[in-house]
């Protein structure tokens, strides 16, 4: 019996790995997504049970206590979190996964301390990789969490010689690693390397601005998978390697989509300190029309009339809508307009919100059916036939300068072509610049009306005005 057990466990892992593929595949289509998530969860359960049967696992009582504690905390967190806070939540979970992987690597290496045995080169390398990736994922995610939660400023934190400091840290890690591999396992050096990994994670995320968080979260998601893979190399477990590689791949795919959505390279996002206001001169440099710009304001009554008597309305939600928690009011406005026979659609920019697909989740929470949400490529050709485009708390993603002004820092970024609609109403608190620190020509367009105020209040007022039409 006992010699069949390891084979049985391995075969069970094989089944679980296959189920992960099935689950992720199903997560990719709206009709099967929920089932896919369930399949993946079952695969995880199978894998955990199989591992508990492993001969090395003897410490059942404590392990079950640990699992119970983790499950309770996880379940409560999943129930309590607000949908607007999803980016932070996923960020934090990424960090936990990274931390767990790093701890596995550290714990495994600890066996060698005190013993005179030389650690084999291959395990030293895999352990150090696990510590590095896991450590960076942990602290990087914590900083991303703090930025998203508003615990620290979302603007990039830059200091002189930042790249040199980072290069030194990374170089130090490599030198220390070589030393550790060449000599007998030394506790102080190993701990120092662990500390350097943690510092690198902090250094990696602090120079990145709040608006670039969709990229960072995606990348850290990928890292958390790679960390699990690295832990798999450490404990020689294919299940970890496969599942980690899957997550690594999905994170990279999302990272690439997010970068494309901003027309920026990954290096630019990670190292440029974008949105510091170094583009502070941009309003002058942009446009070129130094003459006075005229802003047309509109009241909610007139705005409601424009919307109510339109044939087609496209709503462009941005992060401002999420911050103001206006998605339910927006849904109500949609209902009222549809009662009047107006065709309402939503235009979702790929990087709207603070994580990939964040707007879609918020609108789904407010019961907007997903067929009504249009991707950028689908909706852009339709703006010319749109009577009114209603922009709620979005800025840079509707800035026509991205198309027309090659001097603008956001030039080349794909945008929602709101300026092509017959009219545009922009709900915004003020004329302040968006994340990119660039003035928005749309606001001064002769077809654009500004509706100043908080997104939630303004939409609520529009709803009551539309009701009276």
């Amino acid at each position: 019996m006992s010699e069949f057990l390891p084979t049985g466990i391995q075969l069970t892992y094989l089944v679980a790995s296959a189920l992960f593929f099935v689950g992720l595949k199903q997560l990719g289509s709206p009709a099967t997504a929920r089932k896919g998530n369930l399949v993946a969860a079952i695969a995880m359960l199978i894998a955990i049970v199989a591992t508990l049967l492993d001969r090395q696992v003897l410490n059942y009582e404590m392990i079950l206590v640990a699992i119970a504690i983790g499950s309770i905390i996880g379940a409560i967190a999943a129930q309590k979190v607000a949908m607007t806070a999803m980016p932070q939540m996923v960020g934090l979970f990424n960090g936990l996964g990274g931390a767990a992987s790093a701890l596995v690597a550290v714990g495994e290496f600890w066996h060698y301390f005190g013993s005179t045995a030389h650690a084999p080169l291959s395990s030293t390398i895999t352990v150090l990789l696990g510590v590095l990736i896991g450590g960076v994922t942990l602290t990087g995610s914590l900083i991303a969490f703090a930025k998203l939660q508003g615990l620290i400023s979302g603007s990039p934190i830059l200091f002189p010689a930042q790249q040199i400091v980072n290069a030194t840290l990374l170089g130090g890690f490599l030198v220390g690693s070589v030393y550790l591999a060449a000599t007998a396992p030394s506790e102080p050096i190993f701990l120092a390397l662990t500390a350097v990994s943690l510092i690198l994670g902090v250094m990696f995320v602090i120079p990145i601005g709040g608006g670039d968080m969709p990229v960072v979260i995606s990348l850290l998601n990928s890292f958390s998978g790679l960390a699990a893979s690295a832990a798999g190399f450490v404990v020689s477990n294919n299940m970890l390697i496969i599942a980690g590689a899957l997550v690594g791949a999905s994170g990279i795919i999302l990272t690439v989509i997010m970068c494309k959505g901003m027309n920026r390279s990954l290096t630019n996002v990670l190292f440029a300190g974008f949105g510091t206001g170094e583009g502070g001169g941009a309003p002058a440099a942009g446009g070129g029309s130094t003459g006075e710009k005229i802003v047309r304001q509109v009241g909610t009554e007139e705005g409601a009339m424009m919307l109510g008597y339109a044939r087609s309305v496209v709503i462009v939600p941005g992060y401002g809508m999420a911050v103001a928690q206006a998605q339910h009011a927006v849904r109500e406005l949609t209902d009222q307009l549809e009662k009047l026979g107006v065709e309402v659609k939503f235009a979702i920019h790929p990087v709207a919100g603070r994580m990939p697909g964040h707007m879609n989740v918020l609108l789904a929470e407010a019961n907007v059916p997903y067929e009504q949400l249009c991707d950028m490529d689908d909706i852009n050709p339709q703006f010319e036939q749109t009577d009114v485009a209603l922009v709620i708390g979005a800025n840079d993603v509707v800035n026509p300068a991205a198309r027309t002004n090659s001097a603008s820092p956001i030039y080349g970024m794909p945008i929602l072509e709101v300026d092509k609609a017959k009219h545009a109403i922009v709900i915004k608190r003020s004329l302040s610049t968006g994340f990119a620190g660039v003035d928005n020509d749309l606001f001064y367009h002769d077809k654009t009306m500004m509706l100043f105020g908080s997104a939630k209040d303004m939409v609520a007022q529009l709803v009551s005005e539309v009701k009276q039409l």
């Binding site: 790995s17 992960f20 992720l24 997560l27 289509s29 709206p30 997504a33 998530n37 369930l38 894998a47 955990i48 591992t51 492993d54 090395q56 696992v57 410490n59 392990i63 699992i67 983790g70 905390i73 996880g74 967190a77 129930q79 999803m86 939540m89 996923v90 979970f93 936990l96 996964g97 767990a100 992987s101 701890l103 596995v104 714990g107 495994e108 600890w110 291959s122 998601n221 960390a227 699990a228 190399f233 404990v235 477990n237 299940m239 970890l240 390697i241 496969i242 590689a245 899957l246 999905s250 795919i253 999302l254 989509i257 994580m355 697909g357 879609n360 989740v361 789904a364 059916p369 991707d375």
Partner: protein
């Protein structure tokens, strides 16, 4: 390098490629659930944690392993539940009465 490491590398590289193929072309609507679902899967590190924490004798390795089990379980349970909570909200347009 030993054979075990080489075959592990094979598994890693091939699984990555397969992952790219399976996940590519996910509609933007599902980006957030995909990420949080993948995030839950990255909690697979719990298996490593279980093995490390499995020893009967108390030492630092076991303690680190147990901490890792707690963290990874939060990741797994929280991740799958929150993904389900989100996906529950994605609905087709209900027919109006």
């Amino acid at each position: 390098m030993d054979d075990a490491l080489i075959s592990a590398l094979f598994v890693f590289v091939l699984a990555s490629f397969a992952g790219f193929e399976v996940i590519n072309k996910v509609p933007p609507t599902l980006h957030t659930p995909l990420m949080s679902g993948a995030n839950a899967i990255s909690g697979i590190a719990v298996l490593g944690a279980l093995i490390v924490a499995g020893d009967r004798s108390w030492d630092i390795t076991v303690i680190l392993g147990l901490v890792a089990v707690v963290l990874a379980t939060i990741n797994v349970v929280g991740g799958f539940l929150v993904t389900d909570r989100m996906l529950q909200m994605f609905k087709k347009k209900e027919s109006k009465a």
